[in-house]
């Protein structure tokens, strides 16, 4: 899946996205690290985003709500596990922030200067199948997440 310097690789329980952005590393890092920027691009088209709180430090939490075009609100909670400006941001997705620490997946976002621009590598690490089963049994989290993402996909399909 390579088109205009975009590549997505799925291997085992990992998904790796590689992309080239024609902007300096500092700028790319900046738009990942500030709520006023994140609200501009994080939500899919038609969604708005409200940040309840954001602590962009190691161990800090970003709590936000995505408001869907259908009037649904999707709560999200992300914990930054390791940040090194402007090189990388590691975080854990903690689901809707209301259950226990049911980690859906971890992400590593790595910024590398490439001439005038930046190569971004994003790695999403999903829990093992067993872990997913456990989480699902306990919280029905998979179904919830599937529905949520599914709704987004359906909605995005309509926009094509």
């Amino acid at each position: 899946m390579i088109k205009n310097n975009v590549e997505t690789i799925v291997e085992g329980n990992k998904v790796i996205y590689k992309r080239y952005f024609d902007v300096p590393t500092e700028l790319l890092f900046e738009v990942w690290s500030m709520p006023e920027h994140l609200s501009e691009w994080w939500g899919p088209d038609g969604f708005t985003l409200t940040t309840k709180s954001m602590d962009f430090t190691n161990g800090g939490i970003w709590e936000f709500i995505m408001h869907g075009p259908d009037g649904h609100d999707y709560k999200n909670k992300i914990q930054f596990t390791d940040i090194k400006e402007p090189h990388y941001i590691y975080y854990k997705h903690l689901g809707d922030g209301e259950g226990d620490q049911d980690v859906h997946f971890e992400s590593k976002i790595i910024f590398e200067g490439a001439g005038e621009g930046t190569n971004l590598t994003m790695e999403q690490i999903f829990p093992s199948k067993e872990e997913l089963e456990r989480v699902n049994e306990k919280y029905g989290a998979i179904e919830g997440a599937k529905q949520h993402i599914g709704n987004l996909s359906k909605y995005l399909e309509k926009l094509k």
């Binding site: 975009v6 992309r19 738009v31 501009e40 691009w41 994080w42 899919p44 971004l120 456990r134 993402i149």
Partner: protein
């Protein structure tokens, strides 16, 4: 019950492994590998069939089970959706940073 929930049970996971290894097995053959009662095995098989993890065909008095290859693995399904979402999100990010870059270049002039 969905496939994930169906597979959250140790015995059912073991049944699926057994069937996967052998291709096809009758309910009797499956039962011989476990110490639990035939009705309990039959219940597990019913769950796995309704969750579309296993296929079942009847031949005379036999019920023959095999892996359901056509049932979409939920995790993969879910993964595809997430990949799609993130690719679109990164598209948006690309547009957004180029816009900011332009604005800042203009402000400098």
């Amino acid at each position: 019950m969905n496939a994930f929930a169906a597979l959250a049970d140790d015995t059912r996971r073991e049944i699926v492994r057994l069937v996967a290894k052998n291709g096809e097995l009758t309910s009797t053959e499956i039962g011989q590998n476990f110490k639990i009662s035939p009705p309990a095995i039959s219940h597990h098989l019913k769950v796995l069939k309704s969750a579309k993890v296993l296929n079942m065909k009847k031949e005379a008095q036999k019920r023959i089970y095999s892996l359901n290859g056509s049932s979409i693995n939920e995790m993969e399904d879910w993964l595809v959706d997430i990949v799609d979402l993130w690719n679109k999100r990164l598209d948006k990010l690309d547009k957004y940073v180029l816009k900011i870059k332009k604005e800042r270049a203009r402000d400098k002039k």
